[in-house]
């Protein structure tokens, strides 16, 4: 079984071919980073234009690399949401058109389900497992019970973790995107020099919050001499990163307890999303999982950030269950994995 996957929901245009024995036959990812960098964030219209310019070429590229014809596919999958709708539409229309010509099923994949099922592509683990999805647009703890079956245990009530990294990087003049920039600066910093809050720590439940921490960083930076010295910037970056890691680890510890209670057969803590690339966060989560006696899994970096292999893989998982979609599927800017979870404020609403 071979599925073509297409991802266009944010600022990466990607296509991949994945086989049901978990082999990635071909993969191409084109980052739009340089197009958005001058604006300090993703500009939706620029993103949509860029996706249209490149997506068909990338699809042709993976087909050529794998030496496959469209007739040899078993299905065509695309991210159907959530995400920037102009971009999602480009990928969805591309996939629908190829599916129609090739006479193959079309699969509209929830981008978050792509992230959630990546651990089954890389490690072949069984359901259920606990997932921390932490990216520029999302920050959630989910019990992954099966394909299409999720229980949200916690979510951000304001900003996503990645947003907080971007904003702090901007305050410190470190550039965009903020995640790698803050991590680089933090390497030489002293995380203990400035006292920053550990958001939500000790509160009941597993929800996240990053806007208070962000504002605390803003106040701290405003009180520092200008222009900001390299030492000060490094110490703030290190302090912020440590606060995020400690807060996320504490929230995850609570989620593990909740998960264990309800699904005692689950053994894995999986992290996914671009912020999972952060070393301090990974260290904190590794320790948290070890303490709790759970196995910690973090897919390779290229499969943590947005990619099309995860969309193709989620497509395979759905195709096995005959969960195909009609060609009149409407792209979904918002698409929660757990529609039964109560609405959260802010960025959490998107998912």
């Amino acid at each position: 079984m071979i599925v073509l996957g297409i991802e266009t929901s944010c600022d990466e245009t990607a296509a991949a071919l994945v086989r049901d024995d978990r082999a990635i036959l071909a993969e191409l990812v084109l980052s739009q980073l340089e197009e958005h960098r001058p604006f300090g964030g993703v500009v939706p219209e620029i993103a949509a234009r860029s996706h249209l310019e490149h997506v068909d070429r990338l699809v042709a590229g993976v087909m050529a690399r794998a030496g496959l014809s469209f007739a040899e596919l078993d299905a065509v999958a695309a991210t159907g949401g959530p995400g920037l709708i102009g971009g999602v539409m480009v990928g969805v229309m591309t996939a629908k058109a190829i599916a129609l010509v090739a006479g193959k099923p079309f699969l509209a994949v929830n981008h978050l389900e792509g992230h959630a099922l990546t651990a089954r592509l890389t490690e072949s683990i069984a359901f259920p497992y606990l997932l921390l999805l932490v990216s520029g647009g999302h920050c959630q703890l989910l019990a992954v019970l099966g394909v299409g079956a999720y229980r949200r245990l916690g979510t951000t009530i304001d900003d996503a973790a990645g947003e907080a990294f971007d904003k702090v990087a901007k305050m410190l003049g470190l550039g965009y995107p903020g995640g790698p920039a803050v991590q680089r600066a933090a390497q030489t910093g002293d995380p203990a020099r400035f006292a920053l809050p550990r958001p939500m720590k000790g509160r009941p439940g597993c929800d996240f919050s990053f806007s208070g921490l962000k504002n605390a960083v803003r106040l701290l930076v405003e009180g520092l001499p200008r222009p900001l010295g390299e030492r000060d910037a490094a110490d703030v970056a290190a302090g912020f990163q440590a606060a995020v890691a400690e807060s996320v680890a504490e929230r995850t510890r609570r989620a593990i307890a909740l998960f264990r209670e309800r699904w005692p057969e689950g053994r894995h803590l999986v992290v996914a999303g671009g912020v999972a690339a952060n070393t301090a966060l990974r260290q904190a989560l590794t320790a948290t999982a070890a303490e709790a006696g759970m196995e910690f899994l973090a897919p390779p970096l290229a499969l943590c950030t947005d990619n099309a292999a995860m969309i193709a893989w989620a497509g395979i998982e759905r195709l096995r269950l005959c969960l195909t979609d009609p060609l009149d599927f409407a792209p979904r800017p918002r698409w929660p994995l757990d529609p039964g979870a109560p609405k959260a404020r802010g960025a959490g609403v998107k998912a």
Binding site: F39, G40, G41, V43, E45, I46, A48, R49, L52, V55, D56, V59, A60, F70, I85, G86, M89, V90, G91, V92, M93, T94, A95, K96, A97, I98, L100, V101, A102, K167, K170, M171, L327, D328, F329, A330, P331
Partner: protein, 217 residues
């Protein structure tokens, strides 16, 4: 020549299968949103109705704009992927050209044709053609009151922004043709353009830079 054409660039959605002057099958619906849902089923329906496969096609065609940015992308993403998967060539046709071509010859006689396309901005997109539909100007974003700078003498106005332009032209009539492109017309135009070697590349014609919100702190 068997041509499959589609349009979703303005306030409609259509697909048509055309062969040597005859429309074999056609689907058309007026809509300002929802093209991402309607378009591919329309393509499937015209292929089914005509009993043709994608391998039978000689050419695909699509409107490239100017029009609604999202609509332009829906049409182009679909057409480019259809062409890629079918291994067939794809021709681009502009929206003003497609709406002007639908104006009846009797309405065009002795008049300049002005296509006025909605931009959802103060300035609609305007393009003038002579009575034989040869372009007299490039498509431009102009305030309605500046339409007279493009055309002199008797005019027939067509397009979904025609009502905004008509009051500013002294000797103008509204065309009875549909205000939005029709894939059947797009197919005929594309066949002629392809034969003449003057078809456009299937690239979007936005005619306006992306709106960029200044970065927030």
């Amino acid at each position: 020549m068997l041509v499959l054409a589609l349009d979703s660039a303005a306030s409609a959605c259509s697909a048509a299968l055309w062969r040597d002057g005859a429309v074999l099958a056609r689907r058309f619906a007026a809509m300002s949103r929802g093209q991402s849902e309607a378009l591919v089923p329309m393509v499937a329906a015209v292929m089914d109705e005509a009993g043709r496969g994608f391998a039978d096609l000689d050419l695909l065609a699509v409107t490239v704009g100017p029009g609604a940015f999202t609509g332009i992308r829906i049409g182009l993403a679909t057409a480019r992927a259809l062409a890629l998967a079918a291994g067939k060539p794809l021709a681009g046709i502009t929206v003003p050209e497609a709406v002007a071509a639908a104006v009846a010859e009797t309405e065009r006689r002795g008049r300049t044709v002005l296509a006025a396309i909605e931009s959802r901005r103060e300035e609609p997109w305007l393009q003038a053609f002579d009575s034989d539909l040869r372009p007299l100007s490039a498509p431009l974003a102009l305030p309605p009151e500046a339409a007279a700078t493009l055309v002199g003498g008797p005019v027939v106005v067509v397009g979904d922004a025609a009502a905004r332009v008509l009051p500013h032209l002294p000797d103008a009539v509204a065309a009875t043709a549909p205000p939005c492109p029709d894939a059947a017309v797009v197919a005929a135009l594309a066949a002629a353009r392809w034969a003449a070697g003057t078809a456009l590349a299937p690239e979007p014609l936005y005619l306006r830079a992306a709106d960029v919100t200044p970065p927030r702190a």
